[in-house]
Amino acid sequence: MGLDKDSRYGSILIGVGAGLARWIMLTLGWTWKTRVVAGQQYLDALLAKPRAVILSFWHNRLFLSGPFVYKSLLGKGLPITLLASQSRDGELVTRVCKRWGIHTVRGSASRGGLQAMRAIHRAIKRQQSSPIMIPDGPRGPLYYFKPGVVVLAQMSQAPILPYGIAARKFWSLESWDRIVVPRPFTDVAVVIGEPQLVSRELSSEQLETERQRLEEMLNDLTRQAEAAVGAADVARRPSR
């Protein structure tokens, strides 16, 4: 009984937290001056002829990306799927997404996430839903583009749509990746990269080369977004 009560209270707390997080994200997001500084044509092409793409950005941009995805993609009719971890954080993210009409799949791309990855593959193939795949989520390593995302792109033949996003003024939380929470009324820049199709014919070695290339591309896009608003990297990005 005690456990039931605890779990009920836990569920209520997560529900309240999810409502609050959504409200904060939308309210804050509404005050941000967000502009796409490069790559608008890729967004326009996608919305003109909707198809499933794999949306990719670094994990510490998750809060920052929420309103952008909501306004620029979901709000314009693109179905979205999100892979959320099985932790309490993941439950919170799932509840927020549910309120926004984003389909969620629970699991991790890295640890025992085969079932979740297959569910995402099905969402791409059967529902033409675009998954948000955060390549260094849910717990890093920081700015490491995990191979699972590359394999998903290869097997589904859905192109990866990478984008960098940055805020001029922000708080950073004490999380492993110093997640960015932009301050109200700040400038937010988005740099969208060219959609990247991963060939079905790549060998394991070629897949690793592709993984490294995508990692560097996402770092470049994020650097460009940071430069556009004059912001420094919130975490120390490894130099290559």
Binding site: S110, L114, R118, P147, V151, M155, S204
Partner: protein, 75 residues
């Protein structure tokens, strides 16, 4: 080409091993280096090449090459 041979070809392609080296007792993870991303590739390739559907429950039971073949040829 029968189902078993097609399945072995898929396992060989994903693991990078020679078909002739694929013994039933070999473990997909420990012996053939099939980690999570490769397991995704293996399951999706098996479904596509053999025109079958593998449930999550059946996928979870596939630890060895023999398990994959047993799924295709149940006793």
């Amino acid at each position: 080409m029968d189902m078993t041979q097609k399945a072995l070809n898929v396992v060989a392609k994903v693991s990078g091993k020679d078909v002739a080296a694929l013994q039933p007792e070999l473990e997909l993870v420990a012996d053939l280096g099939i980690d999570s991303p490769k397991a995704l590739q293996l399951l999706l390739d098996l479904e596509e090449e053999l025109d079958i559907e593998i449930s999550d429950e059946d996928a979870a039971k596939m630890d060895t090459v023999g398990d994959v073949l047993a799924f295709l040829n149940p006793a």
